[in-house]
Symmetry: C2
Subunit: 317 residues, 2 copies
């Protein structure tokens, strides 16, 4: 049986999208290295198109469509970066994008989708309402669904960040990657295991949204009720994602909310870059000492930088 | 008469320090380009050692010393980035650094100097007290003074940022550079005029600290009483600096405090990087439409990223 996601898929995705996305830089810091005793390589997807790695998966999905499929447009439901990413990718291909968003979505995100020419359809803020609205849009338009993580084309696109990271930071011993629905972690794991088999892949998750960690221990998906500041990681890991994670990921570690905020702040202060809470989760695992980095070289996927600058989590309310 | 600062000096400075400093990246943004009608190239000195371009000038001064001079150490007075830069450069050479700081200097800056092994000497927060304390330290130690901007070695070091920028962003029509004491602007102007004579050099300054702009118009130094958020630009332009600026800078434009805050915020939001108010001043000039950029390619020196993350200027007090 052919595995559903291979290194070849991720390489093909990279060939498909590399002219449209940024090859984001990898930053390092002597200070942060000294603190943890290892060498850290931050893959800065906050500098990616739309400010997050989601541009990779969306671009791969959109540019994988046949011309006939593409002409009908694409649709998704998202309150976060994936909606903007799909609207952006659709505009790059010159096709319509229908983005279902909850009525309480942040205005910034709504404007982001609209700024890329996406059509926003509002729905009640429940999973059922989102899916119903999305089904209705698809029935009306024949648009292709591009799910944020239950889609192998999306996973392959997300994995391209790690292909680049391995070229930019040679001889990595491990890669640390946040896990929400699992699209990024799957792409990361397949890219890492294929391109550099000696490298360990560690999923990083808030303890306040630890469905992937619990599921990893139990061997089956265990949904939880998330209540984390890391808004990109509130989704429960998907079935196809979990199958890949069980087989290809070495561990899933969890971090506290306090560590996420401290990690985010430290990255802003030392690396001088803006990252969102979800993107700081791997570094939070480093700060908590959850992973022994002494003498080792670790890549960290900084997933995005879309934050509301008026409300920073380390400031007094 | 040999000019006091030449392109050859700046090239020699670059050869001297390039192994110690970062070759900082140049960022671009399609969004910001669309807004101004030109092409903007941001030279990210916020990613420089110690978080600011000041590392360049300090390194050039420290590594220009003879072994005998160096052994006696270096001294300066600074409440800002130059103190940290000199402490860092001295540590790189393994020599003592004596940094006179006002007793009301931010703790973060004091800890920064100490973190690089510098010796901090506190004084009353007046210019006279700073100079007296510095003279006293020099008399005691025989250390060499490395002034933040009244020093051609420092100016040459600061100019290396523009040498790199010209390589990284070809065919620039102009370069926009903040002006405080004038060290950076002098280095920028000599580098730009030497390496690319067609390029215009524009100094950018808060209207609330517009000594350089007033002096430029009057043809003589006119001190003002600064009250700007851009703390790196509160100093009055120096005599040797002004002589170079008059001859080699094409214009000095001023911007409001509101524009500085808006520019800083826009850079954080769109470029996903942390810049300090002083570093946002050139982009503030773009936002104010002070410079016609339509169809032109402009380099902007983002001077640094050392800000107190607890107190962001766009937030309500």
């Amino acid at each position: 049986m052919t595995p559903p996601l291979t290194l070849a898929d991720i390489r093909a995705a990279h060939d498909r999208i590399r002219g449209k996305i940024h090859r984001t830089p990898v930053l390092t810091s002597a200070w942060l290295d000294t603190d943890c005793g290892g060498r850290l390589f931050f893959k800065c997807e906050n500098f990616q198109k739309i400010g997050a790695f989601k541009a990779r998966g969306a671009a791969n999905a959109v540019f994988s469509l046949t011309d006939t499929e593409a002409a009908r447009g694409v649709a998704t439901h998202s309150s976060g970066n994936h909606g903007q990413a799909l609207a952006w990718a659709a505009r790059e291909r010159g096709i319509p994008a229908h983005i279902v968003m909850p009525s309480n979505a942040p205005k910034l995100k709504v404007r982001g989708v609209e700024g890329f020419g996406g059509r926003v359809i509002f729905c009640e803020p429940t999973q059922a309402a989102r899916e119903a609205a999305c089904a209705s849009v698809m029935a009306e338009t024949n648009a292709t669904l591009v799910h944020p993580y239950l889609d192998y084309r999306v996973m392959a696109g997300q994995g391209t960040a790690t292909l680049e990271l391995i070229e930019q930071a040679p001889d990595l011993d491990l890669v640390l990657c946040p896990v929400g629905g699992g699209g990024l972690l799957c792409g990361t794991a397949i890219a890492a295991q294929g391109a550099r088999p000696a490298m360990k892949v560690i999923g990083c998750e808030p303890v306040a949204a630890d469905d992937a960690a619990q599921s990893f221990r139990a061997g089956k998906i265990i949904p939880t009720t998330p209540h984390t500041i890391a808004d990109g990681l509130r989704t429960t890991v998907g079935e196809p994602n979990f199958a890949i994670i069980r087989e290809h990921v070495h561990d899933v570690v969890t971090v506290s909310e306090e560590s996420i905020v401290a990690a985010m702040r430290r990255i802003w202060e030392v690396l001088k870059i803006v990252v969102e809470p979800s993107g700081a989760v791997p570094f939070a695992a480093v700060l908590e000492g959850k992973i022994d980095l002494r003498g080792r070289r670790a890549g960290l996927i900084l997933t995005g930088g879309n934050v509301d600058l008026d409300v920073l989590p380390w400031q007094k309310k």
